[in-house]
Symmetry: C2
Subunit: 84 residues, 2 copies
């Protein structure tokens, strides 16, 4: 059994309205020394696989087919094996 942590973020240059809104709200609350706020999704999941390579392949396929929009988003992931 493997655990995957997947992070999906906007590609550089893509407008991040949520990030800008949060930055504005933080400034409004007095946190004026904050900059470059960007917001994405983090996905945790458990996955049965024969090997770490198979788990990585499956995670990449899931990201490319559903979890990330390849036009405007990039994804990164880390995979850990469950301790026996």
């Amino acid at each position: 059994m493997y655990y995957a942590e997947i992070r999906v973020m906007y590609k550089k240059g893509v407008l991040d309205p949520q990030g800008q809104a949060v930055k504005g709200a933080l400034h409004h609350l007095g946190f004026s020394k904050v900059n470059d706020v960007s917001i994405g999704r983090v996905i945790f999941l458990k996955l049965e696989a024969q090997s770490k390579e198979e788990a990585q392949k499956t995670v990449r396929e899931m990201c490319e087919s559903l979890l990330a929009n390849p036009v405007i988003e990039d994804f990164t992931y880390t995979i850990m094996e469950e301790e026996k």
Copy 2:
């Protein structure tokens, strides 16, 4: 200058409809060996502070006042200093 990576997830036991919907969609796409899908937000930001401790204090305050809903969400964060 410091970089903060903040992760905001539902507390254990709180229903995660988005996670369940994604799990169902992944199963529908043939990724049947996936379980326990949970989805949260990841926030990256830059922050001016005199010390790492001050940066941590500010990040905690921002999470408690805006970035996370303390009733249903937990937050974790990592802080790195910008290389000079």
